[in-house]
Amino acid sequence: MKLDNTLPMEYRSEENSNRILGFWLFLGAEIVLFSTLFAVYLTLWTRTGSGPDAKEIFEIGPVLIETFLLLTSSFTCGLAVHSMRLGLKKPSMVFFGITLLLGLGFLGVEIMEFVTYVNEGATLQTSAFLSSLFVLLGTHGLHVLMGLLWGGGLMLQIRREGYTLETSNKSFIFSLYWHFLDVVWIFIFSFVYLKGLM
């Protein structure tokens, strides 16, 4: 196998750099996916039928907690990759662990928020606005859930093998994914919650 040792480990083999490019392309598709969901939401968000509108159900408190948790997790994820590049296995694992815990916290708050909505009578079936809200947030939440499972599996592999060509590549790609979820959340925060509360 040809290795270019001037590159960080996650890029070093041809397969590794192919995988990273492939994942960037996949993220391009994900951007289109979320853009479509945003377009649907922004088309429907005033169409509340007989149900509540955005102002009536949104609460800034839980949303700020979610934002804080997810943004911090993105930061710790960056620290994890940084430590990985310095060859520090243990700190990197710790930072990945914190990342996943913060993600879990985010998911918990989001589920509680959903439960609150449903208890207030705002369900997927109530109106077009709520359908599009639940599906947009739910798709993001599902991505976070997949990220938690993926990251968890990855940590087991790193613990067993250390940072090899394969695990460093996987960790880096996981970090791309995790940062992407953060970016999507920033758009949700601005165009769903802030816009809805204004």
């Binding site: 490019l21 492939g22 429907l44 997927l124 079936q125 077009a128 599996g153």
Partner: protein
């Protein structure tokens, strides 16, 4: 759900279909057991990660689907042949035109194109496989799962019946209460994920794995067309993913996206569908342009005229393809400005397309033209496609479209675009690259007979539909009265359809005959062609190139033949290849089971299979498979065996 609703009952043709499905499955099982081929099937095909074999499986599936979709077409033509025909009832007719469209576009044209892409692209760019061979197998088996799900709907539960466009509110649970449109949302979703993964795979392959010296502007035109097509797939298919998911939420979970009350917006579906649907047209047409470019250049013995303008025109087409979607529903009441914008953007597409047509004509000019079967398809394409294109510009005029909309004129138009555009192209490509895969050419004389039968019958079938449309016959009506005067032209079209069917049957005979009797090709280059794939021996060894060729211009193989400069130099080295795996097949089967349970809203089994999918992903993640190496000795032996006559 009651069991008598589970199977579709009460229709003799359906019982016939059930019987034939059972008999065909039995025949396959018995045949495999009798000839002891189960192990062969598993080792060589179901678990393969070789791009050439995956391509062959795509093409076989596409040919089967061509006949399934063709049967639908024949049934429609049989029903419409005479006024007041009672062969099919309205519901059955609705299901048939819906599945005809879905199958022909998504399960015939797409896999045929992707199949050729799989077979040709790595060979054309001098690579040993695609970037992610395992993912490639996953793509195939997801496509396969989706195709099987849609086909089984015919006998279990009922097929989708709201048109291949599935407009709301018609496709809603209130107006289409059978599970038919659940099949639509789930089967297309699964196949669509496969297609998206294919696009990522081929983009990386083309961008990163070209032979040394092959700059972007030295790529063969088919590779260019596939690169651009995959960019379109990458940006169009996620829109389909979302649309189908919203449809699923509306139909199965009571969401209000496209409903008529509670704020829902039915037109949102039409917009989302065509934001994917129009680029989809170019996804199946651009590779066809690439195939024609290769074939016309090869059989004119000239390099392609206007290479750069070919590339730029495809790039422009790909951008415009995202800006024309609303021309599919001018009549649905978005104002003058919107219609005007989409009218102009649609007509603009004719410009780059026209550039391409002239480039092909100039490639032919003063060429030493050889009339082989693939060349005949390519030559027939140019005038027939132009008729399709010009009627497309007629339809693009929003105000005139109020006359044409939803008539047989439109049906004739898109068949005039898609059949010479895509079907002729994939057939031409099939004849052209067949010897590369199997080591012999399909009999040319029979191929030409099939071509003439198909090309003439095509025009007999679809030309009358233009006139029927102008006379006011609407599409998707299951019968008409004799007073309308539509009878004779419809009869003519139906006669043409029989001719088309005979043409395709003859084509299958052509394949069968050639497998048995055609002389073997030992050169690897039976057409005296230009691009790298023809520098390999036929059939191609699993590692494609024993030595990776060096490229210093367009048409490298042609130049090497003319100048005598060898394409490769150096000594053989060990070649690293990926191992076969059963996981993609198993994953596809789990997806199929998952999809089937979802269609019938069987939640508990759906969740179980859903967990199964996650487990399969985890298994793959924890697996450590570093592939295997082919030794220098083995390469030498293989090359000597395959190139025996030359050395």
């Amino acid at each position: 759900m009651k069991w008598d609703e589970f199977f579709v009952t009460g229709e003799p043709m359906i019982y016939g279909a059930m019987a034939s499905i059972v008999l065909a499955s039995l025949a396959i099982v018995v045949g495999l057991t009798y000839f002891k081929k189960w192990g062969y099937l598993w080792r060589e095909w179901l678990t393969t990660v070789d791009h050439k074999k995956i391509g062959i499986m795509y093409i076989i599936a596409a040919l089967l689907m061509l006949f399934r979709g063709g049967m639908d077409g024949l049934l429609m033509r049989a029903q419409l042949a005479i006024p007041e025909n009672g062969l099919l009832d309205a519901q059955h007719y609705n299901e048939i035109f819906t599945t005809h469209g879905l199958i022909m576009i998504l399960f015939m044209a797409m896999p045929f194109v992707i199949g050729l892409m799989n077979v040709v692209i790595p060979l054309q760019i001098g690579a040993r496989d695609v970037a992610f061979p395992r993912l490639n197998a996953v793509s195939f088996w997801l496509f396969f799962a989706g195709a099987m799900l849609l086909n089984i709907s015919f006998v279990i539960g009922g097929s989708p019946d709201a048109g291949w466009t599935a407009y709301f509110p018609l496709a809603s649970i209130e107006l289409s209460p059978t599970v038919g449109n659940n099949y639509y949302s789930i089967a297309l979703q699964i196949a669509g994920i496969g297609t998206l993964l294919t696009s990522v795979n081929f983009l990386v392959t083309i961008l990163k794995m070209r032979a040394p010296g092959m700059k972007l502007m030295r790529m063969p035109m088919f590779t260019w067309s596939v690169l651009i097509t995959n960019v379109i797939i990458l940006f169009a298919f996620p829109v389909l993913t979302v649309s189908l998911a919203l449809m699923m939420f509306d139909r199965m979970f009571g969401a209000q996206f496209f409903t008529m009350a509670n704020g829902g917006m039915d037109m949102l579906w039409a917009n989302l569908f065509w934001v994917w649907g129009h680029p989809e047209v170019y996804i199946v047409i651009l590779p066809a342009f690439g195939i024609y470019s290769e074939i016309i250049s090869t059989f004119s013995r000239k390099n392609l005229y206007g290479y750069k303008s070919m590339v730029y025109s495809m790039v422009i087409i790909s951008l415009l393809s995202f800006l024309v979607w609303a021309h599919h529903f001018y009549t649905m009441g978005h104002g003058v400005t919107v219609n005007g914008f989409f009218s102009i953007s649609t007509m603009a597409i004719a410009v780059p397309t026209g550039v391409k047509i002239f480039n092909w004509l100039f490639t032919l000019r003063k060429g030493k033209i050889e009339f082989t079967t693939p060349m005949l398809y390519s030559l027939a394409f140019i005038p027939i496609f132009t008729i399709g294109g010009v009627t497309g510009v007629m339809l693009a005029m929003a105000s005139a479209d109020y006359q044409y909309h939803n008539t047989m004129f439109l049906v004739a138009h898109f068949h005039y675009v898609l059949i010479p555009g895509t079907v002729f192209a994939v057939l031409a490509g099939f004849y052209y690259w067949f010897p590369k895969l199997f080591g012999f050419r399909l009999n040319d004389k029979q191929g030409k007979r099939a071509f003439w039968l198909i090309a003439v019958s095509f025009n007999v079938t679809f030309l009358p539909l233009f006139f029927l449309g102008l006379k006011g016959m609407t599409r998707r009506t299951f019968t008409y009265s004799a007073e309308t005067g539509f009878g004779p032209l419809n009869m003519l079209a139906s006669i043409g359809a029989v001719g088309l069917a005979l043409g395709f049957v003859y084509l299958v005979y052509n394949i069968y005959w050639s497998f048995r009797y055609a002389p073997r090709d030992t050169t690897g280059d039976p057409w005296d062609a230009r691009t790298l794939e023809w520098s390999t021996p036929s059939p191609v060894p699993e590692y494609n190139f024993a030595l990776i060729p060096k490229v210093d211009g367009l048409d490298p193989f042609w130049n090497s033949k003319k100048t005598g400069q060898p394409l490769t130099e150096g000594e053989y080295e060990e070649i690293h290849m990926p191992n076969n795996s059963g996981q993609p097949f198993i994953l596809g089967m789990i997806f199929m089971a998952f999809g089937f349970c979802m269609v019938f809203s069987w939640w508990v089994p759906s969740i179980v299979f859903g967990i199964g999918i996650v487990i399969m992903l985890a298994v793959r993640s924890f697996e450590r498979d570093h592939g295997r190496h082919i030794s220098v000795k083995e390469i030498k032996e293989t090359e000597q065996r395959l190139r025996g006559e030359q050395s």
